[in-house]
Amino acid sequence: MNWIKKVYRFYRDGFRGLSDWGRTMWIIILLKLFVMFAILKLFFFTDTLKNKYDTDEERAQHVLEELITH
């Protein structure tokens, strides 16, 4: 358990001692992750095949039809 405390303190002290540019970087990272996962992934990038079909068999059938063009 001692090492877990050490690791926790290491990260805590690291974040507390962040420089100005370090803080800016973390704001950018968090903003970016929020936009990516809470907006883009949720509203714009849903899984097409998972959304349209319930089973893998149905998905496979759809892709087979797309592959066979004639």
């Binding site: 290491f10 990260y11 002290d13 690291g14 974040f15 001692g17 540019w21 370090g22 800016t24 970087m25 973390w26 950018i28 990272i29 970016k32 992750l33 936009v35 990516m36 883009l40 992934k41 714009f44 990038f45 849903t46 899984d47 097409t48 095949l49 998972k50 893998d56 998905r59 496979a60 059938q61 892709v63 087979l64 797309e66 592959l67 066979i68 063009t69 004639h70």
Partner: protein, 531 residues
Amino acid sequence: MFESIDFALVNWSRAQFALTAMFHWLFVPLTLGLGFIIAFMETIYVRTGDPEWKRITKFWMKLFGINFAIGVATGIILEFEFGTNWSNYSWFVGDIFGAPLAIEGIMAFFLESTFIAVMFFGWGKVSKRFHLTATWLTAIGANLSALWILVANAWMQNPIGMKFNPEMARNEMVNFWDIVLSETAVNKFLHTTTSGYVLASVFVVGVSAWFLLKKRHILFAKRSIVIGSVFGIVSSIMVIASGDGSAREVAKNQPMKFAAMESLYEGQTNAPLIAIGLFGKPHDTPMHRKSDQDFLMKIEIPNMLSYMAFLKVDAFVPGIKDLVLGNEDYNIMSYKEKIKRGYEAQQVLKAFKEAKGVDAVEYNRLKAKFDDKHWVENYFRYFGYGNYYDPNPEQLELNAFKIVPPISLSFYAFHIMVALGGHFLLLFIVILYFALYSRIENKKLVLYTALWTIPFAYIASQSGWVVAEVGRQPWVIQDLMPTMTAVSKIDTSSVMITFGLFTITFVGLAIAEVRIMVKQIKNGPKEGGNK
């Protein structure tokens, strides 16, 4: 069949993917190379104990951190796009793409997030050697992450080590090591990562040149130039060697890409390499039997293309027309024949699908074809060509010419990349010489050249990807799946909206990167460095 394809959707999806990939690739090469440069600098600090090296290391580490923070996770958007815009492709590639990407995700998370924290938070809190180890592991981890992405990309260029499962319409991995150690994967990994090292070296040398021009932090700048240029020279030699390997591999596995890179319409023995060339008129799109090259000017190196492709000065290098129309003298199968074979493979898959639950004997007979090595090697391997089939021979030939990548873009991207690669090597040698044997701070022309070479390193790096990705069109997976089949049938307007959103986001992030980076560069290294 082309009537059923919404080319607006295909083109917007391609544009969106290209935008995301190119934006992601603005950050990756600097991370790959700067990681090692920092590790070298810190190693010198640990070995000598000279505090100036610590300041040098910390300064470049700060720029590494900015680049890493802005660029981190931008690659995940590509994975979003796979599931939404390229769902047919994602399904078809199955676990072959999934396995390397999963390894990459886990490796990137554990290696980079653990050791990068030690790199930034660990100064004075962990021992010098532990800190140095973390720096090296961050650099190695970043490069290992790149390995898995590049393995996945290499498989798309040269699909091997898999078996197609006709019931599930997806490819299944048969031999992991065949995929990881394919000649395409090895060359791609070496060429791409070492090109990142060159870009990072140009960056270090260019920024250091700026300090010398401003007469600030002279010792810091000189030492950085020495490290950057030595690493740059070694990396440039590795880029040339791996590029040489890549050229031979492309000539063998993607001869159309190779021909497009050189705009070689008619194949020839003792083929010359075009060192510099300028087209006179746009290429015919699509090409046809009578299309011809039209160079306004070109300077050639005799026999070089033959040697580059096959290590023989008199080797025959097939041209675009040889590949489309075939060449019996050199045993080159025409695209028309490949289209017919691909069409036959598609018909087998269609019959297999129709026999399911209706005719068990026929179903099993057709299924067995996908286990038959001879049939797979001679018919299924051309599966994607079947999309270009037409019963009318004249239309079939016109369709075959549609399987030619954009020539001008492939040609210019390739030549810009090579020419700039030569410029970088020369720059490293010249600036290293002046840094070691002369007063580099007085060589303004060299310093300005070094500074203004930074954007050209990015142009060369992006050009490399243009050659790789545009040159293989129209394939998403070489010979098996064309781009138009890979795309999901979703609303084109939604792709256009996300394209716009990405453009705004990416431009914003790029501006933030440049502004923060420039500000920190102007601030210079902390705690002295004015020796």
